[in-house]
């Protein structure tokens, strides 16, 4: 059942112009790997997918998928969309409303009425747990079921690449997780290169083998999801991926022996990793150099008392100024001289009886802090 092309990587680069918007991007995805395009809306994520799908003609570029070149601006190669063998999923799924579930899934099959075609539809309906729903119309399905039908339809004709444009955006958090798991196991079975567009950090971490952060048509960084989204080294990337705590501080003292340095700012004093990799920008040795320090909200421990006997280098007292629900947990903001956001679970919140006005300690290791380079692009 598996075509030989399924083992091919997808790669290419494109330069697109849509009105005033200018996009330049490149990619390389191995079979079974997921490249996450991460960025705010209007960054050019969907435009990239549309260019790969041939729904938009790039100014220049080269698109290779399924082991063949489907677009090469210089060589004058242009394979139209229907000849590219793609699976393309949109946020609204766009299931054909006049066709039943089975007809939707079979839509791209050349031989949907032959025994082989029927078998393929049957295989997909059971793979995506759609048994018994074959004769329903799309609007008679739940959001999750619609999503599964859309995925089954996209995979029916064994595409050489999957393009997923925020496929889980309109589902609730619970269902998202379930479908993400299913997508992962499905990818393990039929390894095609996948490009996934999202602006959900959790989704990028759960599904991505690599993450490409783009903004205003430019790629800012490409790398491992945890590196890029966990401790992003660039100011713009840090903001885009939503690093909860960013502080502008001044270096007060460097301790090369410990590999740390002490940074101070209004009401704040932090131990952070030494900035050995930063001075490429001509920052003078010593003196009053300014740094931006990021700390993820989930890396901060809240304590009722000072954990003086602990190895954590940063222990800051503060007062709770807000507690917000942030499913599945809570976001607590502490005033430690500057507001500091911490993510904790509901159980922790209840156990500690956290409420606004309470005095707590924010505790985190020096290595949880990372330096963000504001100037590098």
């Amino acid at each position: 059942m598996k075509p030989q092309t399924a083992e091919s990587a997808a790669s290419g680069w494109v330069e697109c112009r849509v009105g005033d918007f200018h996009l330049e991007t490149s990619w390389e995805i191995q079979p079974g790997q997921v490249l996450v395009l991460f960025g705010p809306s209007g960054a050019g994520k969907s435009t990239t997918l549309r260019a790969i799908a041939g729904l938009l003609r790039p100014v220049r570029g080269r698109v290779e998928l399924g082991g063949r070149v489907v677009y090469d601006g210089d060589a004058g190669i242009w394979v139209p969309t229907h000849g590219r063998r793609l699976g393309y999923l949109t946020q609204q799924y766009h299931l054909f409303p006049h066709l039943k579930v089975a007809e939707n899934i079979a839509f791209g099959l050349k031989d949907s009425r032959s025994p082989a075609g029927r078998a393929r539809v049957l295989e997909l309906t059971s793979l995506f747990q759609l048994d018994g729903l074959e004769d329903r119309f799309p609007w008679e399905l739940s959001g999750g079921q619609q999503q599964r039908v859309a995925l089954a339809r996209a995979l029916a004709s064994e595409p050489a690449m999957l393009l997923l444009d925020e496929p889980f955006a309109s589902l609730d958090a619970e269902l998202r997780r379930t479908l993400r798991r299913e997508l992962r196991s499905m990818l393990a079975q039929s390894p095609v290169p996948v490009m996934l567009v999202t602006h959900d950090r959790e989704e990028a971490l759960a599904l991505g083998d690599s993450v490409q952060v783009i903004n205003e048509g430019r790629t800012l960084v490409t790398g491992e999801p945890l590196d890029v989204l966990g401790q992003p080294g660039q100011g713009r990337v840090a903001r885009l991926v939503g690093v909860e705590n960013l502080f502008d501080l001044t270096v007060q003292e460097r301790n090369p022996r410990d590999g740390t340095m002490t940074c101070v700012g209004p009401g704040l004093r932090l131990e952070v990793p030494l900035d050995s990799h930063i001075p490429q920008n001509g920052t003078p040795e010593g003196g009053q150099d300014r740094v931006t320090v990021g700390i993820r909200a989930s890396d901060i421990i809240l304590a009722k008392e000072d954990l003086s006997g602990s190895s954590a280098r940063n222990r800051l007292p503060g007062q709770v100024i807000s507690v917000e629900s942030r499913p599945p947990g809570y976001a607590v903001t502490l005033d430690c001289g500057q507001p500091m956001r911490c993510h904790i679970t509901g159980a922790a919140l209840e156990e500690m009886g956290i409420r606004v006005g309470q005095r707590l300690w924010a505790v985190f290791k020096a290595s949880s802090c990372f330096l963000v380079d504001e100037d590098r692009v």
């Binding site: 969309t81 949109t90 766009h94 006049h98 799309p138």
Partner: protein, 269 residues
């Protein structure tokens, strides 16, 4: 819900308006049926040669004009729906011209174009084509006045089909042509049927332009409306019979339209 509306001032006014409207439309229709039923030789009049000839001609010409309108109008409407360049918008507003133009003026205008002394009339004649005062002229007149109803409705139908459906279909390996027939056309079909129904009704009732451009020749250009007018001059019975046939046809058309445009997926696009 119901009580909310009926308590509302607009509900009272609206109710009165509805009653007046039903009377206004219903009374003449009822009167027509009552008078026709009172005729002793109603059936004879309905099946008379003159009536059948006019009916046959009306059906024939309107079917031909509808075929032309659908075949040429569908791709045209699709183009208008998917294109917002300047020329398309200009053409789009041109489509509405026949709707506001008095049919008699349309008839005169066509005579000026295709008539013997018209702009291209002599050229047409030199290749053996005579259009005015022929059955072809009847079809021309019907297409002229009725086509906008179909084109406008079909355009709206195509616009209601999000382009994403077509994009998705093509990523699934289906060519643009097959996508059009398997996705776009079925999804736009209800709107197209509505437009076709309206256009057909307009073509069947066409009078002014036909009168000016095609004349009133029995068996050749005398369609039902023209036959009714002619009959009025000699016998009311004949006119009544023809009117009842047209009325029955209209009601049948309305029912058919309702059936053809109903879809299970209505409102789900």
């Amino acid at each position: 819900m119901v009580s909310q509306v009926s308590n509302h001032p607009a509900g009272i006014l609206g109710g009165g308006g509805a009653a007046l409207y039903v009377l206004f439309i219903g009374l003449p229709v009822l009167a027509l049926l009552v008078r026709a039923a009172q005729q002793s030789d109603f059936l004879d009049a309905v099946t008379s040669d003159a009536a059948l000839t006019a009916l046959r001609l009306s059906l024939l010409t309107s079917i031909i004009s509808m075929a032309v309108v659908v075949l040429l109008g569908t791709p045209f409407a699709y183009l208008l729906a998917r294109n917002d360049r300047l020329w398309a918008r200009v053409v789009d507003s041109l489509v509405e011209l026949p709707l506001v133009l008095p049919p008699v003026v349309a008839g005169v205008a066509m005579l000026m174009a295709f008539g013997r002394n018209g702009l291209i009339g002599s050229e047409l004649e030199s290749i053996g084509l005579t259009i005015p005062f022929t059955t072809t002229a009847v079809v021309f007149a019907q297409i002229f006045v009725a086509s906008p109803f179909f084109i406008r409705s079909a355009k709206l139908g195509f616009q209601s089909v999000a382009k994403d459906y077509e994009d998705i279909a093509q990523t699934l390996g289906v060519s643009p042509w097959r996508t059009f027939f398997r996705i776009t056309l079925p999804l736009a079909a209800p709107a197209m049927f509505t437009g076709l129904g309206l256009a057909w009704a307009r073509a069947l009732s066409e009078f002014g332009a036909t009168m000016m451009f095609a004349g009133n020749l029995t068996g050749e250009t005398q369609t039902m409306p023209l036959a009714i007018m002619s009959a009025m001059e000699t016998s009311l019975d004949g006119a009544l019979a023809l009117s009842v046939i047209l009325l029955a046809g209209s009601i049948l058309g309305l029912v058919l339209l309702g059936l053809l445009t109903r879809r299970r997926w209505q409102g789900r696009l």
